[in-house]
Symmetry: none
Subunit: 146 residues, 4 copies
């Protein structure tokens, strides 16, 4: 199963609402299906022109390796050459910093959300808010939350 | 001036509503700003995994040359080598068939919408419906409509 | 739902058995999941070094547009510039000739199989034999078989 | 001489059996011939979508330089700019971490196996188990084992 457009939009809209509530910088929010393909994207006014690729890359990287991009960011500090290789292998669709979160339904990965615009920690807060609003579980690290 | 997220979403939603009204195949709709960068994208369930790139490529091609992708498609029949060169020059973000329409406001190009999913003629119908619903003028060819 | 490794291997092995039964040229068989990512691939001895990319490209193209690559091949004759654009947009993962067949389960696309090695018609015969052996339905054209 | 499909499958299946025996994470296993082209690949269910490219990249990198990817990983720590250049030069098919092992037969390199899914050390364990099961010698570093 992969995420539907209806549910993807619930995630995007709740993530953007969280960003406005917290007065974060303008955000770009992307939801990808389990295969790494765009289902929905919204870029707020004044969000930079690279933000869509960054948001997509965070989500894609999470799907690519099977764990959230926060974990990828921690590994990038320890083994930068490996993360560089993954950037190259993925054709640039791999952004290893927090803000790319797997979407779990019943233990299965059904997609991922990526956000770019504020700090990566704040981006992640909005990812999780969006996923929770849609009734799914978000995974930011190596293991699903218990 | 470039298109806002609010107006981009009006275009996307009206385009999708037109597609459902006409019982077209599942559609992917992308709105790009005047710089060719994504503002909003929605992919309906069962729309193929290359559709986002095709929708973006139609809109990007229109912005790239400054006229609607219907015109690009007609030129592709006459000068295919030129269009092939543009595909290569753009890194693959150039899809010269109908369904990529410039968004005009007061005579200025403020963005473009691209749609992929049904025949290119039908895709274009939805582009125009979306642009009209948002109160803008759509340009499918070489010259703005009079 | 996407195809499992177990079922993908049933398809690959039955396709290769068909090829040997028919005394076809050495084949390369690839099965992709619904997102266009490799699940299983086998290349027979003396099958050329580009064959993996061709087999993958046939299957990927089918998933990309949502119909079998036989249909894509027919369209490539009518609108070559469009197919060229899809090759570029997909980064070369788009091979519009017969031999890329969607795998349907209960009406849903759960993956695709691509074969390269003999004529494209013969490649397709093996795709269909493999899909049938695994208990699924193969779609070679624009519409699912009735 | 290059590895046959029959022997490549022996390696893949023994590597996957080792992974199940050790209760490793879901693995993707790729075997390339001496020319760096895929012979066989299997991706276990729940193995991430970038894993095929990572597994192929480890094996390709080993073939590319003529020694196992463990050695490449050690060099990447000392001369990261050189490894970055190799990633770029290879078009992204170069992943310098353990888990890409050359396959030697009578002292000749006849292919390479790459695995991605668990830690790189564990991936390498499965590479070596697969190669040994097929009756070949695996080379993880700069020199063939004595």
């Amino acid at each position: 199963m992969s995420i539907s457009l209806t549910k993807a939009l619930e995630i995007v809209d709740a993530a953007l609402a969280k960003g406005r509530e917290m007065a974060f910088e303008p955000l770009t929010v992307a939801v990808l299906d389990a295969g790494g393909h765009l289902v929905a994207l919204k870029r707020e006014d004044r969000s930079g022109i690279l933000r869509p690729d960054v948001a997509i890359g965070k989500a894609w990287g999470a799907l690519g390796m099977g764990f959230g991009s926060r974990e990828l960011g921690e590994r990038a500090v320890k083994v930068p050459h490996f993360m560089n290789a993954l950037m190259a292998a993925s054709g640039g669709r791999f952004v290893p910093v927090a803000g790319g979160v797997l979407i779990l339904s019943g233990g299965d990965v059904i997609g991922a959300v990526g956000i770019s615009g504020d700090t990566s920690d704040n981006d992640e807060i909005c990812c999780l808010a969006g996923i929770a609003a849609a009734g799914y579980v978000g995974q930011t690290g190596f293991r699903p939350p218990q």
